[in-house]
């Protein structure tokens, strides 16, 4: 067996080792970028506890959601969504900024509106800041 291996090894030249290493690195990079998971595919907007609407994260869209205090403005872009404006006093949900991970939620409690992203392979249910 050893003799056989010694027979094959000289066939691999120094540059070949580099190419093999580069190929393996490419596999690693591809796996890391494509299998990171947590990419959201849908935004779910709730108002007063009821589902107000579900929107795909493919095209830009602005949704106006009525609540007890006024209108909450949800902004959707490819791959992300945010609460752009809310009549609530402390603006927590607006300051959360863009949501990009499946499972993340922005809640505008005073106006009873929430925005959550769903998707396959979300790594956690929610994020707290």
């Amino acid at each position: 067996m050893k003799r056989k291996l010694a027979d094959w090894l000289p066939l691999v030249k120094p540059g070949d080792w580099l190419v093999i290493a580069a190929g393996l690195a490419l596999c690693g990079v591809a796996a890391a970028t494509l299998w990171r998971g947590g990419a959201p595919d849908k935004a779910v907007v709730r108002a007063g506890g009821e589902v107000f609407g579900e929107y795909g994260l493919n095209a830009p869209l602005r949704v106006e959601v009525p609540g007890p205090l006024g209108t909450t403005l949800i902004e959707i872009e490819p791959g992300r969504a945010r609460v752009a404006a809310d009549p609530g006093p402390r603006q927590y949900c607006v300051r959360q900024g863009w949501l990009t991970q499946a499972g993340s939620v922005a809640i505008c409690a005073p106006n009873q509106v929430s925005l959550s992203l769903t998707g396959r392979g979300g790594q956690y249910d929610s994020l707290n800041y």
Partner: protein, 173 residues
């Protein structure tokens, strides 16, 4: 039988191409009998022949052998002009173009193993692009890219080693 008025005289080169293409076709058909876990993951043993022809007889002959193999192999397997044929064809064209560039790498440092890996990556890359544009118009096709890339490295090394060994041990036929 009426004697043909057209006389086709095959040159030595023609015979050599036919012989190598026949070997490659045999490998293609034999390989089709191997059960594989995933569509698209194939050893690509016929590329051993392409690599040997490339090293011994140059790029032009390698192109002939590879394309003859794709067309005749698909005819034998009943795949001609089916989606699988276009995937093989685009893969073969891409790897031939890549080999055309890679063969000018210094031979002292880069052997058949490098060429084989480059060709395997070109093959899988072209197939993914064709599949994405035409067969499965959704980014989901790219989900298995890491698996295909790993297969390209593995089979690229194996085929390259076999080609290198045959080139070393066997005299030019």
């Amino acid at each position: 039988m009426t004697p043909s008025t057209i006389e086709l005289v095959p040159t030595v080169e023609d015979r050599r191409i036919a012989r190598h293409a026949a070997a490659a076709i045999v490998l293609t058909v034999a390989e089709a009998a191997i059960p594989l876990p995933l569509p698209g993951v194939k050893p690509g043993l016929a590329n051993i022949v392409t690599l040997i022809v490339l090293a011994r007889w140059g790029w032009r002959e390698a192109v002939w052998v590879a394309l003859l193999r794709v067309v005749a192999g698909s005819l034998l397997l009943g795949q001609f002009l089916a989606p699988g044929f276009f995937l093989s064809f685009s893969g073969a064209v891409a790897s031939l173009v890549t080999l055309g560039f890679a063969m000018h790498l210094p031979r002292r440092w880069f052997g058949p193993v490098s060429l084989s890996i480059f060709a395997a990556f070109a093959h899988i890359g072209a197939q993914l692009v064709v599949a994405r544009l035409w067969l499965v118009p959704h980014d989901g096709v790219f989900y298995l890219t890491p698996v295909f890339a790993a297969a390209a490295v593995l089979f690229g090394v194996v085929n390259g080693l076999i080609a290198a060994r045959l080139l070393r041990d066997r005299p030019a036929a």
